[in-house]
């Protein structure tokens, strides 16, 4: 589904990513792990077009490109959540998720002016889909609440819902479990697995909780100081010397 070839990215003098290559197969859950500052979030940003790498290429669904606009990534079927929840704070949870349907809503300005009629029909149709997502994520009780007042864990769930509303082929999750307790992590893991199983969505996931990574992912890639130091199944990576030295440490 996605191939990253020899990508390098730097900001001024800081080299965020150096010559990284890997691929993501259709339908798998790929974890990207590594210590802080390793370039994981930058990697996601390159994939969905926020940053343009100085070198290298991304091949998505067969089409190779070195420069991608975020809007093209969206139409191509890539959706994403952010490390510091990037919800639209002025809107309710429902509106946030409805915003995720924007690409699929087509009734033009004239119909929007009138609202009653075709525009309303389209709105209701998408509302149904959004309600399905809301039920799936078990958040119907907060749908009319402005997201700014929601607790962090629920905000992350709404953000996941917004990404799911886009019906993406590739879902990029940036630390979806950050700041959650055990129960919330279990819920979130279940949602991620369900999305992968039922909808067949390919998922790339940045995460620090090793338990989650080992249980959820099919394959793992490890970054350290912008370089790839390991790539393989969770078991392979867990035993890799370089990974243990750089990141995992040894059990005492």
């Amino acid at each position: 589904m996605l191939a990253v070839d020899n990508v390098s990215l730097s900001f001024g003098g800081v080299k965020a990513i150096t010559d990284v290559s890997f691929d993501i197969r259709k339908g798998e859950i790929r974890a990207i792990i590594g210590p802080n500052g390793a370039g994981k979030t930058s990697m996601l940003n390159v994939i969905n077009g926020f940053y343009t790498p100085q070198q290298g290429r991304i091949t998505f669904k067969g089409a190779a490109r070195s420069k991608m606009r975020p809007h093209e990534a969206a139409t191509g079927g890539i959706a994403r959540t952010f490390q510091n929840v990037a919800l639209f704070r002025g809107m309710t949870a429902l509106d946030n998720i409805m915003a995720g349907r924007s690409l699929k809503m087509h009734k033009n300005f004239f119909w929007q002016l009138l609202r009653h009629g075709p525009a309303m029909a389209e709105e209701v149709e998408h509302r149904k889909r959004v309600e399905d997502i809301i039920e799936f994520l078990e958040i119907p009780h907060i749908r009319k609440v402005p997201v700014g007042v929601l607790p962090y864990g629920l905000q992350k769930r709404v953000e996941l819902g917004r990404a799911l509303a886009m019906e993406p082929d590739l879902l990029l999750l940036d630390e979806p479990m950050a700041g959650m307790n055990l129960e919330e992590k279990e819920d979130m893991s279940r949602y991620i697995l369900d999305v992968n199983n039922f909808y067949g969505t390919t998922i790339a996931l940045i995460e620090h909780d090793m338990g989650v990574v080992m249980d959820l992912s099919d394959r793992v890639i490890v970054l350290d100081y912008g370089r790839k130091i390991a790539d393989g199944t969770p078991d392979e990576v867990k035993r890799d010397r370089a990974v243990i030295d750089a990141y995992l440490g040894v059990a005492h």
Partner: protein, 358 residues
């Protein structure tokens, strides 16, 4: 007890998404429209209609326009006065060129002219944000203001550089010019405002409104949803300038009767901005409340002390207005940034549980 939603269940998404889901709200709107269309004209109080209601309605329309740009899309603009001016001058040129055409047609057309100008001056918004954009809109404001007095074609080569509104009729009634009655003008302005408020309400609750608010809140994430920034921002400029242009045209044609370019100065831009800050950014109700407060304030200052036996000079009234408005701005931004509209909502919330405290 009165303002309860118990028993009012929604059985479809459509009814859940209505503007006034509660029956009490619907009754309230009906009452307000009744007062506006029937009760006020019946008072036959020319002062009330001409000096208070008509201009209040016109400024509300301008406030809606600016709120779409600033409150919903987050694009701070200081060019409101100029865009209102574009509407007024466009209408003037159109109706002097084609006197036979219905004046309402030209009022709407001048909105489109203003929208086009708005889009041109809104192009920088694609690269600039926040107060940088505000400064860019100042370029629009000052340039257009200069154009209004330095391009003689605009004011038909009139020696005084002012425009005089010619007499026009609608269905046999005289609607513009010195002989039009206050009530006629009031009804026209009211109806245009009601219709355009309905349009604005539809826009902001649907896909377009959501895309505007998404751009306001986090444009990077909005891009990721597939919401394209340039068309969304330009549309906001277009719609906003349309509303301001129509308001400007109505200001000259249905209230002032004539105009010089000083009407559309930077002070006008600030006053409309203050209306939406105090009324509530991102709220249509706020436009009405803010316009009412800012517009009525100097009038109240002129009359109330006089009635109480402590008359104030007109110049002092103006100074006091500035001080009070400025203080209100700071006050609202500190205490309730969401403005009067939020206070209204809180009030309704309390009403919901009345007579219980919570």
């Amino acid at each position: 007890m009165l303002y309860r939603e118990a028993g009012q269940f929604k059985t479809s998404y459509q009814s859940d998404q209505a503007v006034f889901p509660l029956l009490q709200d619907r009754i309230g709107i009906g009452v307000i429209l009744l007062i506006a269309y029937v009760a006020i004209p019946l008072t036959r109080n020319d002062f009330l209609i001409n000096a208070m209601m008509t201009p209040f309605l016109i400024f509300t329309l301008a406030a809606i326009g600016l709120n779409i740009l600033v409150g919903y899309t987050g694009l701070l603009s200081l060019g409101t006065g100029a865009f209102m001016g574009v509407g007024a001058y466009a209408c003037y040129k159109l109706t002097t060129f084609f006197p036979g055409v219905n004046i309402l047609v030209w009022i709407i057309a001048s909105g489109f002219v203003s929208a086009a100008v708005g889009v041109v001056f809104g192009l920088p918004a694609v690269r600039i944000k926040g107060f940088y954009l505000a400064i860019a809109t100042l370029a629009a404001q000052f340039f257009l203001e200069w154009a209004f007095t330095h391009i003689p074609w605009l004011y038909n080569y009139n020696v005084s550089a002012a425009i005089e509104v010619p007499q026009r009729e609608l269905f046999g009634l005289i609607v513009t010019g010195p002989r039009a009655t206050e009530i006629t003008r009031y009804y026209i302005v009211l109806t245009i405002l009601v219709v355009m408020t309905w349009f604005a309400s539809n826009l902001v609750r649907g896909r377009i409104g959501r895309s505007w608010m998404a751009v306001r809140d986090m444009d990077i994430a909005a891009e990721l949803m597939g919401i394209r920034l340039l068309p969304t921002k330009l549309l906001a400029f277009a719609v906003s300038s349309f509303y301001c242009g129509v308001a400007g045209a109505m200001l000259v044609f249905f209230w002032y009767g004539s105009a010089e370019s000083t009407v559309f100065s930077i002070n006008q831009s600030f006053f409309v901005l203050f209306m939406i800050i105090i009324g509530g950014l991102g709220s249509l109700l706020g436009c009405y409340l803010g316009a009412a407060l800012i517009y009525m304030l100097p009038i109240a200052l002129k009359f109330v002390p006089g009635q109480l036996g402590l008359p104030i000079e007109p110049a002092t009234v103006e100074h006091l207005t500035f001080i009070i408005v400025g203080a209100l701005i700071v006050f609202f931004l500190v205490v309730e940034p969401a403005g009067l509209a939020r206070l209204w909502q809180i009030g309704k919330q309390k009403l919901r549980v009345w007579p219980f405290p919570y």
